[in-house]
């Protein structure tokens, strides 16, 4: 954990000092808030991370106010997974995307006025029943009981050697927003997806339909 913190601090530092960083793809992406009026810091990382005084409960070096909303989660008679309240990084995403926390409520700001609203296509709201389920364990057992899911411990996210779903896309075996999205837009794919969904390749990485 110490090591991780060190790495994050380092990369934040590296980013600020080198424009050639691998994280540079966030620049100019939908998550590059450096030019936003509400982001008085003018920085890219700060709305979400801070190298100092970060939230102790929310990794990684989280700087943004975290949602306390209660969510309506996805349910369906046919679903095998047990869907809980959003946790892990999904909760961090929803801290902006549920529309209950102001975008500029990071650092010491607590009284921001810019919210994502239902008029924005990026608004998910607190009703997640119409969104792909997140924050549930997706393991070999689930893939077996569902019958039409790939085994995440075996199935690779791309070509041979690209790593398994479990290692690359899941957080402690859990499906999260980050299973489909790369918040930093690293691969540079539309909608910040981890993998292009052309030919529904993203969906069909997990779903054996």
């Amino acid at each position: 954990m110490k090591l991780f913190k060190l790495f994050l601090v380092l990369s934040l530092v590296v980013f600020f000092t080198s424009s050639n960083s691998g994280l540079a793809v966030i620049t100019g992406s939908a998550h590059d808030f450096s030019g936003q009026s509400w982001n008085t810091s003018g920085e890219i990382c700060l709305p979400c991370h801070t190298p100092h005084n970060a939230s102790a409960t929310n990794k990684p070096l989280w700087n943004h106010a975290v949602t306390t909303a209660s969510f309506t989660v996805y349910t369906n008679g046919t679903i095998q997974a047990t869907i809980g309240q959003p946790d892990g990084s999904s909760k961090l995403c929803l801290s902006c995307h549920d529309g209950t926390v102001a975008l500029e409520n990071f650092g010491s700001t607590t009284t921001g006025t810019h919210f994502l609203t239902s008029a924005d296509p990026e608004f998910l709201g607190t009703d997640l029943s119409n969104d792909h389920p997140v924050s549930f364990t997706y393991n070999t057992a689930l893939s077996t009981s569902d019958g039409e899911l790939y085994d995440p411990a075996v199935k690779e996210v791309g070509a041979a050697g690209s790593g398994t779903i479990q290692n690359r896309w899941l957080e402690s075996d859990k499906m999260q927003c980050s299973s489909c999205h790369d918040v930093h837009n690293t691969p540079g794919i539309a909608k910040m997806l981890r993998k292009s969904n052309a030919a529904s390749a993203l969906c069909l990485t997990c779903h054996n339909k």
């Binding site: 998910l124 119409n130 969104d131 039409e148 791309g158 070509a159 529904s200 069909l204 054996n208």
Partner: protein
């Protein structure tokens, strides 16, 4: 930098192939509506496959549904035998109909502001896959299938015993009970193979079916049009099973029958093209049970005594039950198994145990029963009354005859034998299927039975009677000693003196109507003293008061 780019390109190509490998289920099916799909109805350029039905965010409803429901009122399936309460399509069925009712553009999805282009196609093209808003000819969906329904129907599996791949959804039958839209490992996206109707029988447990020839026969089609199995890939009776007669979608008639004309459902095979019994040829004859003459009159729930005149194959046969089992009179043969009827006392029976019980549905007390072709002294056309074992005389249909002395009987017939109605009433000719389907002889008689006065006697003219009654014996006057004189000498036919069915005990008696005596009044008239009567005077003795062929018997005693 160049190297990196090549790596990325190679990576993308690899990912593409890997994703192809992993998407083998839906991607090779017609439900891959993307540009890569194998079907003809597909998007012009959209590459995403799931998008036509699912979206990860802001879905219209579960399961992440990307389409709007058809805001239509559907005309629902209904039939007189339906126990279920069939509602407007809901659940998954409604989702399927958002393409398959033909009202919504195929490319219209919630996650896109404008519909995905399907080239020249907008909504589902007309044809089998477009069910339209008319669901009357499709297997019903969106109804609760609980144990009460199974009990009420009586021929359904208990829902508890229905197991995957067939499933109920919130206790309801939906399109997805039979279809898996993601997978086409069987045919037509079915959850299990329809071969041998395996899918149908996971819910339907038809009485008799297990021993029916329609379940077991391995007969094939001879290739002469029309194809009896036009909606399946199966090539034998047993593999087509239910679908030989039923069509789960776009059916020809209620109860998902293939054809609207009831008999067509049978004759599509019984026309020489599949079944060994070519019934169609028989029905083309002059005298027949005219099944082609009625459409939409027969109903399975109709009273045993048919109220409205009609006849269909299914009035006498139960397609779920029929088999080739043999039987002896009066018991029903395999071909007549599982059919309701009317017993000797006029009570309803289901199923009929005896063949005549089936005939009595129409030929006893129905208001429209066919009349008698002969005008007789005692008129009766309620066949049930004519064969009543309490009658003074009758052909032994219900029980052995009352007369212990019938010297003309040809072995193996004896006075304790019983006969079927269909021993006399059946298709004529050699090697024809049994049963009263059609004959060149009136009354659908199996052989010639001339009823014209002044007929010269011959084996052929009275072939019907001579089948059981020895011509030599009759003409040798073994019983009535004036037989020869009347039949050969006068050219009188059997039918003038004898009433072949019997004389009802409500009208006749054992003195005047023994030996099936009931005169044809078109030929026989009263004697000079105004009496028309036969008196039985013991074995082979009697007395007649009548006038016939100019002869006055007043009386004639023998």
């Amino acid at each position: 930098m160049k190297n990196k780019l090549t790596m990325i390109i190679v990576g993308i190509i690899l990912i593409f192939f890997v994703s192809l490998l992993h998407s083998e289920k839906i991607s090779n099916t017609k439900h891959n509506l993307s540009v890569s799909g194998p079907g003809t109805v597909k998007a012009a350029s959209e590459s995403e496959i799931c998008i036509f039905c699912h979206t990860p965010h802001a879905a219209a409803k579960t399961p992440l549904w990307n389409r709007t429901d058809p805001g239509q009122t559907f005309t629902l399936y209904s039939s007189s035998t339906t126990n279920a309460t069939i509602g407007q399509p809901d659940g998954a069925s409604l989702m399927c109909l958002s393409c398959h009712d033909g009202t919504i553009a195929l490319g219209s999805v919630v996650s896109r502001t404008s519909a995905i282009s399907f080239g020249s196609v907008t909504t589902m093209p007309a044809g089998n896959t477009n069910l339209t808003k008319n669901m009357t000819n499709d297997h019903p969906v969106s109804f609760v299938y609980n144990s009460a329904l199974a009990t009420a129907d009586g021929q359904l599996q208990q829902p508890a015993s229905i197991t995957p791949p067939v499933s109920l959804y919130n206790t309801k039958v939906q399109c997805t009970s039979c279809h898996n839209p993601h997978e086409n490992t069987s045919i037509k996206f079915l959850v299990a193979s329809s071969q041998n109707s395996a899918l149908c029988v996971s819910c339907h447990n038809r009485t008799y079916w297990s021993s029916s020839t329609h379940k077991t026969s391995t007969k094939t089609w001879n290739g002469t049009s029309p194809n009896p199995w036009f909606h399946t890939p199966w090539t034998t009776v047993t593999t087509n099973a239910c679908e030989s007669c039923h069509n789960p979608h776009n059916a020809g008639a209620v109860r998902n029958m293939n054809y609207a004309a009831e008999e067509s459902n049978c004759l599509s095979c019984h026309n020489g093209n599949v079944a060994s019994t070519n019934i169609q040829t028989q029905l083309n004859k002059t005298y027949k049970h005219n099944v082609a003459g009625y459409t939409g009159v027969h109903d399975p729930t109709e009273a045993n005594i048919a109220v409205t005149q009609h006849v269909e194959c299914v009035d006498c046969h139960n397609g779920h039950a029929s088999n080739a089992n043999a039987a002896s009179a009066p018991n029903v043969k395999g071909s007549l198994l599982g059919v309701k009827g009317v017993d000797t006392d006029g009570n309803n029976v289901d199923p009929s145990q005896y063949e005549y019980q089936i005939c009595y549905k129409c030929h006893s007390s129905s208001s429209w029963r066919p009349g008698s072709p002969t005008t007789r002294q005692i008129a009766q056309n309620n066949v049930r009354l004519e064969f009543d074992p309490a009658n003074p005389s009758f052909h032994p249909v219900e029980s052995a005859g009352p007369n212990p002395n019938v010297p003309s009987l040809i072995s193996p017939w004896t006075t304790t034998s019983k006969v079927y109605c269909s021993d006399c009433h059946a298709s004529d000719g050699t090697s024809v299927p049994k049963g009263p389907h059609g004959s060149t002889y009136a009354q659908i008689l199996v052989k010639q039975y001339v009823r014209v006065d002044n007929t010269s006697e011959s084996a052929a003219n009275y072939a019907l009677c001579y089948t059981c009654h020895s011509r030599t014996s009759i003409l040798g006057d073994n019983s009535f000693r004036e037989h020869n004189k009347h039949i050969v000498g006068e050219g009188s036919n059997c039918n003038i003196c004898h009433d072949p069915h019997g004389i009802s005990s409500t009208q006749g008696n054992s003195t005047n109507n023994s030996n099936l005596i009931n005169f044809n009044t078109a030929v026989v008239s009263p004697s000079s003293s105004g009496i028309l009567r036969f008196d039985d005077q013991g074995l082979y003795h009697g007395r007649c008061y009548l006038t016939c062929h100019g002869q006055n018997h007043n009386p004639y005693t023998y």
